[in-house]
């Protein structure tokens, strides 16, 4: 069994380094690779000869984390949900040795959720996460515009706020403090992130791994007022965002009317793990008779059919586990606010079952757990 992390974002053991957040993380990962304490690190990196692309990479070379190395572990960008990638990495077997991953809270939640769905293994995965100030939309990464955003990003984060240009999904996120990480990097609302950084070492191996870092021992959690304020602000934003989308059938038909059927939302969704989606399966390839029957009944039908059916079906399949990471909205070529709609429905589904996806491995997915004493009102 993997070592159980505490369910809190902050253990009582903390370390304040006298280097900036980025330098601290780079130094930590570099030393872990150099000493052989980890075999590899999954983190964001720049790609291409021009360094303009950003993708997750499995780094084994410590130099990637040098000051001018290609790794950019704290870049506010999510080209893929890292939780889904960790599942892909461990799908065919447990890791043979320790691998560290630097991911955001929603990525961590997705990974935990995927573990509950038996889509990989936690063994030897060393999770590093941070209090999250959100990421920028995918399109910001094009033409190098992401670099321009970074000063505003770091400024906002120190003030405990989210840059207005961050993804709406992130501005509406209420789960921005990671639970279950070995190390939590305190970013949100922390002052002087270019010259100091607080790490919370939540597991014994985290404490061991951080030994090479120099700094002062912290014996208290970070000041909660900033996180509290951010939570209130994000909840208000969330409410307004949810109010802006219709989840009734008419609204859904209108909004998903411009869906082009690429199913990119499903492909990038970390929770949608099926090898072949039901809605791409033989089952959903309609016979001629189906079209003729519908034509007879309605006088006209959309081809390809089942556009809203796909969305509702996918929602029914994954809403209880939806971590609200926003990848679906980001990838949609038709600019449909998929994530807002899914999060709104997910919030209500999850509240019904009093469930928080990806919070702790021990919390079972409601649809996989039978409880005799629930939903009496439905039974009568």
């Amino acid at each position: 069994m993997p070592e159980a992390a505490t369910s809190s974002a902050f253990a009582t053991q903390g370390l304040r380094t006298n280097q900036g957040a980025e330098e601290t993380v780079r130094q930590l990962l570099r030393s872990l690779l150099q000493s052989g304490q980890v075999e590899a690190v999954l983190a964001l990196g720049k790609t291409g000869t021009d360094g303009k692309g950003v993708a997750y990479s499995l780094f084994t070379d410590p130099d990637a984390f040098a000051v001018d190395g290609e790794a950019v572990p704290l870049l506010p960008y999510m080209p893929a949900n890292g939780g889904g990638l960790l599942s892909r990495l461990t799908l065919e077997g447990s890791l043979p040795g320790p691998v560290a991953a630097v991911i955001r809270p929603c990525e961590l939640q997705a990974f935990i959720e995927l573990m509950k769905l038996n889509q990989g293994s936690l063994d030897n995965v060393f999770l590093i996460s941070s209090t999250c100030g959100g990421v920028y939309p995918l399109e910001t990464g094009l033409e190098g515009h992401l670099e321009e955003k970074l000063p505003a990003y770091w400024r906002s984060i120190e003030q405990g706020e989210l840059d207005e240009a961050a993804r709406p999904t992130c501005r509406a996120c209420e789960s921005f403090a990671p639970e279950g990480a070995d190390i939590t990097i305190a970013l949100l609302g922390e002052e002087g992130l270019d010259e100091q950084c607080s790490l919370y070492l939540n597991t014994e191996r985290a404490a061991a791994f951080a030994q090479r870092l120099e700094g002062t021992i912290l014996d208290a959690e970070p000041d909660g007022t900033v996180l509290e304020r951010s939570s209130v602000e994000r909840s208000a934003f969330r409410e307004a965002l949810f109010a802006g989308v219709e989840t009734g059938l008419k609204g859904l038909v209108e909004t998903f009317g411009r869906c082009i059927g690429c199913h990119g939302c499903k492909t990038v969704c970390p929770i949608c793990y099926c090898q072949v989606c039901h809605f791409d399966s033989h089952e959903c390839e309609r016979e001629i008779a189906y079209y003729e029957g519908e034509l007879q009944r309605k006088g006209g039908l959309r081809v390809p059919p089942d556009t809203v059916f796909f969305q509702l079906g996918r929602m029914a399949h994954m809403a209880i586990s939806c971590v609200g990471c926003g990848m679906c909205t980001d990838v949609c070529p038709a600019d449909i606010p998929v994530s807002t709609i899914f999060s709104k429905v997910a919030a209500s589904a999850q509240a019904t079952f009093d469930y928080v996806p990806g919070r702790a491995l021990a919390e079972e997915i409601p649809l996989r757990t039978f409880r005799e004493d629930e939903f009496a009102q439905v039974a009568t």
Binding site: E70, R258, I288, G299, R302
Partner: protein, 394 residues
């Protein structure tokens, strides 16, 4: 077959004329249903609708400003499981018809009882440009069409040289709008079925009241020929430039460097018909030891891996059937010029094998048909390499 062409009466304007004609065809039971783009309820996009009730045709748009779903794909979905029992007319653009023809050869669509009706295509706007402001997009599209201006269109439309079927209509009917002013159009049969439909609709040369059909046809084919020449030149210039940008693995890695592996390109591609793409199959899902070893050998492994392999693999799977429609590029959230790159690869591959994707159901797919007498260049080169190797080995 231009001799049997007819004039499409367009007093009310081109689009209303086509719709009126289709309504009449439905009423006369020439067709029992029509597959045509229709504006969505929110008026922010278009979708293919299979229509039996003529009232829905009032919402139809034969030449919408965008291509949210490739019509070949729509035809594939409709007929993948067998022949239609009802006579259906599909109003589509030339690249969509070419895709439908490729899918038919690949046994993924069935054209029985399906009448393909194409139109001279001015191109379509990039989906994202249009969605920013649909009303403004529609206006921009109309203006560009009036001015014969392809610059606001999708990059693949800007370099499209198969936008008309003046040379050889491969579809049952082709509606030609080029060369004649005021939305006047000729309707040209490309098959016996097309001729039969024109006769049934009372549209024959004899029925042309103005008596100027031969002149209209002449103006249409002259203009289409001119434009084809211009566009062909534009295409080769663009491809020559692109060739420099993509030559070699490093440059390809740069072009596809921002790919996020969403595979939207493959999903919207009309000729990528596999239910389960090889590159999403369990064949490429490997034990962690494999990924770690690959990472260790290079210092880093992009993860998920095999991004460029996916694009090159997909190209090798479908380039011979690629119709250069640009649907892939439209669906790419990272603005990768994937449609342009694939059109370059496709042109080279198809030229090497003397094949034009979607030209005709009669042309056999090159990899299906064996010909003794082809590709001698490659053969020769291979023999030379082989001999050299043999000598070295000896």
């Amino acid at each position: 077959m231009n001799a049997n062409a007819a004039v499409l009466p367009t007093k009310e304007g081109f689009e209303p004329a086509v719709i009126q004609w289709l309504k009449e065809a439905l009423n006369r039971n020439v067709f029992e249903a029509v597959l045509i783009p229709v504006e969505t309820p929110a008026e922010d996009s278009f979708a293919y609708l299979l229509i039996k009730d003529p009232k829905f045709l009032d919402l139809a748009s034969p030449l919408p400003p965008i291509m949210p779903v490739q019509g070949g794909k729509a035809i594939g979905r409709l007929t993948m499981r067998g022949d239609l029992n009802k006579r259906v007319a599909a109003i589509i653009r030339p690249c969509e018809a070419r895709a439908a023809i490729e899918l038919t050869k690949l046994k993924q669509a069935h054209l029985t009882n399906l009448t393909l009706i194409t139109l001279d295509c001015p191109g379509v706007l990039p989906l994202s440009d249009y969605l920013d402001d649909p009303a403004a997009g529609a206006a921009r599209f109309r203006e560009a069409v009036e001015q014969d201006n392809r610059s606001p269109m999708r990059p693949t439309c800007q370099i499209c040289h198969r936008f008309s079927l003046a040379e050889a209509p491969a579809t049952d009917l082709h509606i030609g709008t080029l060369g004649n002013d005021d939305g006047a159009a000729v309707i040209v049969p490309g098959s016996l079925e097309g001729e039969r439909i024109l006769a049934q609709m009372g549209l024959t040369e004899d029925g042309d009241e103005s008596g100027n059909l031969p002149e209209m046809l002449e103006r249409w084919s002259t203009r289409a020929e001119q434009l084809t020449a211009t566009q062909t030149e534009r295409r080769s210039e663009a491809h020559a430039q692109l060739q420099e940008q993509v030559a070699g693995a490093d440059r390809l890695l740069d072009i596809f460097g921002s790919c996020i592996n969403c595979h939207n390109c493959q999903r919207v591609c009309p000729v990528c018909y596999c239910r389960q793409c090889y590159f999403e199959s369990t064949a490429l899902k490997l034990p962690p030891e494999n990924y770690l070893a690959r990472a260790a050998s290079k210092g880093a492994l992009r993860f998920a891996p095999d991004t460029l392999l996916f694009h090159l693999g997909r190209a090798s799977h479908m380039a011979l059937s690629c119709v250069s429609c640009g649907a892939c590029e439209d669906a790419c959230p990272m603005d990768i010029p994937v449609g342009q790159v694939f059109s370059l690869l496709a042109d080279g591959a198809q030229e090497a094998l003397g094949y034009v994707a979607g030209r005709s159901v009669e042309d056999a797919l090159p990899l299906v048909a064996y010909e003794m007498d082809e590709l001698h260049d490659v053969e020769q080169a291979y023999v030379e390499i082989y001999r050299e190797q043999e000598v070295q080995d000896a």
